[in-house]
Amino acid sequence: MKTIKFSAAVDSVLAQQMARDPRIVLFGEDVQALRRNLFVRFGARRVRNTPISESAFVGAAVTAAMAGLLPVVEVYMVDFLGVAMDALLNHAAKTYAFSGEQWSVPMVVRAPCGGGYGDGGQHEQSLWGWLAHIPGLSVVVPSNPADAGGLFLAALEHPHPVIFMEHKLLSDTWLDFLAGGSRSTISFDIPTSGAEGLVPNKWQPIPLGRAAVCKTGSDLTMISVGVGVHQALEAAKILEKEGISVEVIDLRTIQPLDLETIIYSVDKTGKALVIDEDYQQFGLSGELAAVLLEAGINCQYARVCTEDTIPFNRQQESQTLPNLERILSAAHRLVD
């Protein structure tokens, strides 16, 4: 075991796999600079800068995958997938089905996501539930370096398209790049155990669709993903002192969902609190409610999500994104 940073874990798996599997190519805007350590090792044929043309290069990744490559295509932020949505919605996600399940599209879209560093509502979205709505896409959102590496390895091994999301608050390189994180004058609410952590000496894939129970408990189940997991753990610690025993589930992958773990836990506690940094309506939090009801679990349910466009103002931003205060008060409402 060794301690490394969040994005370094992903890069380390990517380097390892690129060395093993010549099919892997990496492209995106500025990746020769952003992933320069991969660039100088694997060269310009396999690490390619693109023009600012997301719809063309995400679209190209689809057929590159179909024709035998394994593209890792990187976008600056998940928000910018708006311009490339057709490639995901109508091509990456559908080719396997259209071809009568004869032709698959093994590609990984690597996209920073999430807010909490004051960059405004066009640059801090999560959108994981939104992407997961589309049949044919898997969506992965790790919350710590070990999961990031293991899930990225699984994403590379997956025969179908995977959206792999890196929360910017967990990534020191993205924070430097996008938040002026090099300034000593600014600070962020970084979950330290998410930004840096122990990882195995030898990477093993973490299967998609397997949630992690980060903490067991009996009174209330908190279900979350990404930075929300750390907020849940923090809240759990506080609630524990009040005598409330909280179970915390890190979904790790949004699509597929680990129904078993979710249902087992909520069946036990009878109370589900979803903490979801993505938009509240018609997304992950709703889906979790549906799978619980479908399983016949009668539970008390609450959710703390992002309800509106994320404000630039730091205070309003932190009110709009899930925060500890809102989580605690929702938990209290459920338990009382």
Partner: protein, 341 residues
Amino acid sequence: MDLWNLYSGMYFNRLFEEQVSNLWRQGKISGEMHPSIGEEAITAGVLAHLIEGDALALDHRGTAAAIMRGIDPGALLDEFIGLPTGLCAGMGGHMHLFSEDHLLASSGIVGASGPAAVGFALAAELLRPGKVAVAFFGEGSLNQGMLLESFNLAQEWQLPVIFVCKDDQWAITTDTNPNVSPVQRAQGFRLPTSSIDGNDLKVVYQTAGKAIRNAREGKGPAFIHATCNHPEGHTLDNQLVRVGRRPLKEGMAITIPLLKSVFKIRGAPIIERIRAMIQTIKMIRRSASHHRPQSSDPLKHARELLIKDQERLDQLEATICAEIGELFSATGSRLTAEDSR
């Protein structure tokens, strides 16, 4: 250039699509149907140069290319009908043709064949050096951002992509602005371009040959603008074509509401209304004159090149006719058998 071989593919496709049209009219094929009848010379002239390992990215009008690329016509037909025995197990239909063996993919999204060809070409560069990717699309697609982006991306990466614009002067009901030059647009992205008569098989063959040879040699992408005509219009039996062909019956259904509207109180000044009315009538007229068999028919054209050997020609056509007859009658009886079950 093996003219006989190319003609035989073109002729086969024509008969195939005519029979498909019949099946569609009989309600055996659902949804829209975009025939590629009329673009056979472009398809044949370009595809003649493709070898195994080359890739094809098609638009919504991909039948001719699928046929001439060697996809089993029976599998194609079954796919159009939506049978489990179809090329894609009936999951895609005529707009979504996929064959991994042929590295052939199509899409119903306008412009999508551009990025698709770039991805194919990238794989070619890394895995199959010397192989190329061809994108087919219409002139209307030249307004779709992703296609324009793909011109640039192919050029930046110097990939072996041949972009083939099949210009039929129409995008559904919109006839192309005559001031727009597809070639000029492609040149904006520094693509080497040629503009040709897509009904002339020899010219297509030569032009495509040069572009593909260059691409194989690592000289990067090229853009070919080839004119053509789709006698069936955008889709089989679409309203515009119906009006053109049955002006009395279908025309009235359109004209009466139009006349009611143009005289309604409140609206644009009368001069603007008249202009709009004239424009509408002109559009319908132009559609009618475009969307019918033309003397420029590429098949006729190609046939003339072979007419010297009338006997061989007759025999070839008879053979193909028989093949098609067999294929469709077999399928026909299968369908009838199923219907009666």
